[in-house]
Amino acid sequence: MDRLVEIRDLRVAFDGVPVLHGIDLDVAPGEALGLVGESGCGKSVTWLAALGLLPAKARVTGSVRLGAGELVGAPREALETVRGKRIAMIFQDPSSALNPVIRVGRQICEALRLHRDLRGAAAKAEAIRLMEMVGIPDAPRRFDLYTHEFSGGQCQRLMIAMALAGRPDLLIADEPTTALDATIQAQILELLARLRRETGMATVFISHDLGAVAQICERVCVMYAGRIVEAGPVERLFAHPRHPYTRGLFDAIPQMTGPRRRLVPIPGTVPDPRALPPGCAFAPRCTRAHDACSRARPDLLAQPDGRTLACAYPVPEARADSFSMERAMT
């Protein structure tokens, strides 16, 4: 496979507490990859670490290769040429992710100046074009407004416009719709899908919303407690989730079609990274766990059907038939 980004054994520790336990992940040019998991499972940390955006107290080891360059341990100047230019990132809560005292147009122009050396009128024209491209109505007039004069959804559009300014090869969308209401979420997802089609940039979509991931991704990685537990093509994973955690995520989604069904929550909570269980981190919450699960941690292994899976007693494929793509989309 042609690879844009290649992450190998990426580990992150805060104050000596490991939160990411060796992630292997590839992103192909133009592909849309979903990263799914509960808060604190390491989805965002993976990419903040890759771009060197974690606070100084974070210890990052392993490798993140972008083309020929290694990002882990790279000097700040080298990372600054990658950020926004090769890999752009947008965040949740767009209203606070934009600078409140700088006009939004100028914030976009700053990215254009940094990455495409556009200045003055040329930069302004391009910024307005980008604002129109992401669906900001009346862009020329609103170029000079401030963040607080836009709604949350529009701020996310502006963030996306700013991310597009550098024509990145990869856009990391870190829970871009979490802080937005449902109709706006759908619009932003549609926008991201359209922009990927139009620009051909790869997208990593970080979310805990399986429906959103199904809508725009081709491949999905499910993370739990700082590790990838299951990964594969989105249809296969969603039709037949095999890791009990992936399965649990589906059971907790309400179903729009078919008979009414009781939602099954995953019991317990995410383990404290300072006190991870010795074996499989999910074992204490797992309904399928055997004694062995709390002693030995299963490795992430390739399966015959193309997915990778880290589970000693996975959900048998036959039992998973009733889970449809349609359900995940609702």
Binding site: E77, G84, A88, A97, N99, P100, V101, I102, L114, A163
Partner: protein, 308 residues
Amino acid sequence: MLRFVALRLARALATVIAVMTFAFVVLRLSGDPAQVMLGPDVPQEAVEAFRRSWGLDAPLWQQYLAYLGAIFRGDFGVSMRDHSPALALVLERVPATLQLTIPALILKLGLGIPAGVYAALHRDSLIDRGVILLAVAGFTIPSFVLGLVLVLIFAVTLGVLPSGGSGTWVHGILPTLTISIGGIGVLARFSRSAMIEVMGQPYIRTAAAKGVKWRNVVRGHALPNAAVPIVTLVGFMVGSLIAGAVVVETIFSWPGIGRLLIVSVSNRDLAVVQCILLLIAAVMVVSNLVVDLLYGALDPRLRAQPTT
């Protein structure tokens, strides 16, 4: 915007009148200028003649109205001590005070803000801890102690600087230092926490993720946001340019407003004290007004609904 400015101006004027009224009443209730000026052993007729000639025999409210009327005509009264116009006496002393307080203000801004910002950007480093320690020491030592300690070190022990008096710029060094050290400490502490707060905001991460160079993240994205709280404090410091040196002028026998104020209060020289207090209030009010207007320029969010 116009309504905002007008409202602010009206409030500023109200504040000044309140200060004037307070000063007027308190001064008259707290002592009799005739007794102080003439001494304890003068005949009753002389005291009454003094009171009549200064209008002190009229009821308080009549005196007050006369005073207000005079102020609005630009008449600030006459010193009871040397019969010269109070305003001229006061203004004559302003340059001497500013000779101390303006360099002190420059020191406060020039050292306090950079030290605080640097400490914030190198949080928990040795330098950060050093800055905090010095800052706390700086603003907890009262100026009369600090002034005396500096005199002890530089005048008495080392003998390199004069312990008091005025005339050359060398005389101004110790009083300026004494005034500025507390302010440097306060401003360093304040800038540090403002900057730490701002550096933790999501938009700083956005700017870094966008590829903005670190130095420009700090300069272009963080500092403009940290400026709002810092400007508040600086405005207060500018406002105390006139009143901020009373203690220090006394310690170093510096012939500024502060010393005039102390002398005039103990002499019950009503017109002069009132004139000084009016000036102090006016400077403080004007600088607050400027700060309020600056808020809008610094933070667009404050333009829409100005704080009232």
